[in-house]
């Protein structure tokens, strides 16, 4: 027995079943990300004014990733339109682009994560704070490329006109170090919510890319047997992909810019 309404429109809903299903799923996704966005708002308004980070993330890279994801959205919708216009070859080309763009997005995000995990705030025994990227870690010394700050407050607003961007190689004897912590999720509530939101989003990108990859590869055999059903699958996976794009459209200004 065939699964009903995979192609034919169900009379009472006016839709094929998968479309109702994906929208219900996306509704639950809105609540999932909504809960985390409201957590972000609470953390931000609850933080002391001078101790909420500004400019900690790489804006050119964030902008590039936004453009990458937007481009993947247009290739996704064009892949679906190609199916509708009975142009299977073009579908393959557009979704190949989608997959490459998805990999690019995850690659750039991984680089940004790596940048945070190699960035250290180091408090010395004399009270000074060194901040920068780890170059070398030996049993007797640590070498970073960064700067010294007199007040911890100076680490937070890197987009302020007065913020110093002077970086130099600094060697610190281990014996002088009181505390050393990387910019992982444990370092600050901003980083905790940043890694949670972008990590969850990246998992969605990876999940969506796996589905699109399946439809582009082995799943595309369905095109020969039942092109309508295949086109509907492309549309459903596309709706998910656009949702993921939409989440990033909010994440980018919230985490990188404001």
């Amino acid at each position: 027995m065939d699964i009903p309404y995979t192609v034919a429109i169900r009379p009472d809903t006016g839709l094929y079943n998968a479309k109702v299903g994906i929208w219900l799923f996306l509704a639950s996704e809105v609540m999932l990300f909504g809960a985390l966005f409201s957590a972000y708002i609470l953390l931000r308004v609850g933080a002391q004014d001078d101790f909420w980070p500004h400019g900690w993330l790489n804006i050119p890279l964030g902008t590039l990733n936004t453009l990458v994801l937007i481009t993947s959205s247009i290739t996704t919708v064009l892949a679906w339109a190609s199916c509708k216009m009975n142009q299977f070859g073009r579908f393959k080309v557009f979704h190949a682009c989608t997959l490459i763009l998805a990999a690019t997005f995850v690659g750039i995000k991984s680089y940004e994560y790596h940048d945070k995990f190699t960035h250290y705030e180091i408090t010395l025994n004399d009270g000074r704070i060194a901040d920068g990227h780890l170059l070398e870690s030996k049993p007797d010394r640590v070498v970073i490329r960064g700067r010294f700050v007199a007040d911890r407050k100076d680490l937070f607003d890197l987009r302020a006109p007065t913020a110093s961007h002077k970086h130099e190689e600094i060697t610190l004897p281990r014996a002088d170090i009181k505390r050393m912590e990387s910019y992982g999720p444990w370092h600050h509530t901003y980083l905790a919510i940043y890694f949670t939101l972008t990590g969850l989003h990246a998992l969605h990108v990876i999940g969506g890319a796996i589905v699109i990859g399946f439809l582009w590869g082995p799943g595309s055999r369905l095109w020969r047997r039942d092109p309508e059903r295949f086109t509907n699958r492309v549309e459903i996976s596309g709706l998910f992909w656009h949702f993921v794009d939409m989440v990033w459209i909010f994440l980018f200004p919230v985490l990188y810019l404001i």
Partner: protein, 139 residues
């Protein structure tokens, strides 16, 4: 081999994208939809529309970044501008790429409930300001 039902359903969804009001039970509407399905140039028009949305999204992204460098006086205005642009961009994606501009009532119903609960979730953050536990240290 395409079935007749499948062809009709594809035609119906295409007609719905073009903003043609179709009734499921109406043979005339189905006929009209089938005609539209046989006109790829009508779909090419949609593709052009998608490209315009794409350009608008690129432009919106660059504007967002540019606006974040403009000191509007206080940070609240910068936040409002960034969120306004983000909402505009998200609306374009939802309306055109996700076809919400011409969707069935059931989908609008689902999204109506979602919007209601989502807004509730956001308003909880405002409500929390009046909900300090006793002995909370404020700065």
């Amino acid at each position: 081999m395409e079935t007749k039902t499948a062809t009709a359903s594809r035609a119906l969804s295409m007609a719905s994208m073009e903003g043609v009001e179709t009734e499921l039970q109406s043979p005339q509407a189905t006929e009209q939809a089938l005609m539209n399905a046989q006109a790829p140039e009508s779909f090419a028009r949609h593709v052009r529309g998608y490209l315009y949305v794409f350009y608008a999204l690129i432009f919106g992204t660059l504007i967002t970044v540019g606006a974040s460098y403009i000191p509007f006086g206080n940070r609240e205005i910068n936040i409002a501008v960034a969120l306004f642009i983000a909402i505009s961009k998200a609306s374009l994606v939802a309306c055109y790429f996700m076809h919400l501009i011409s969707e069935r009532k059931l989908i609008y119903g689902i999204l109506g409930f979602t919007a209601f609960f989502f807004l509730g979730l956001m308003f909880l953050t405002i409500g929390s300001f009046a909900d300090f536990p006793r002995h909370t240290v404020t700065h």
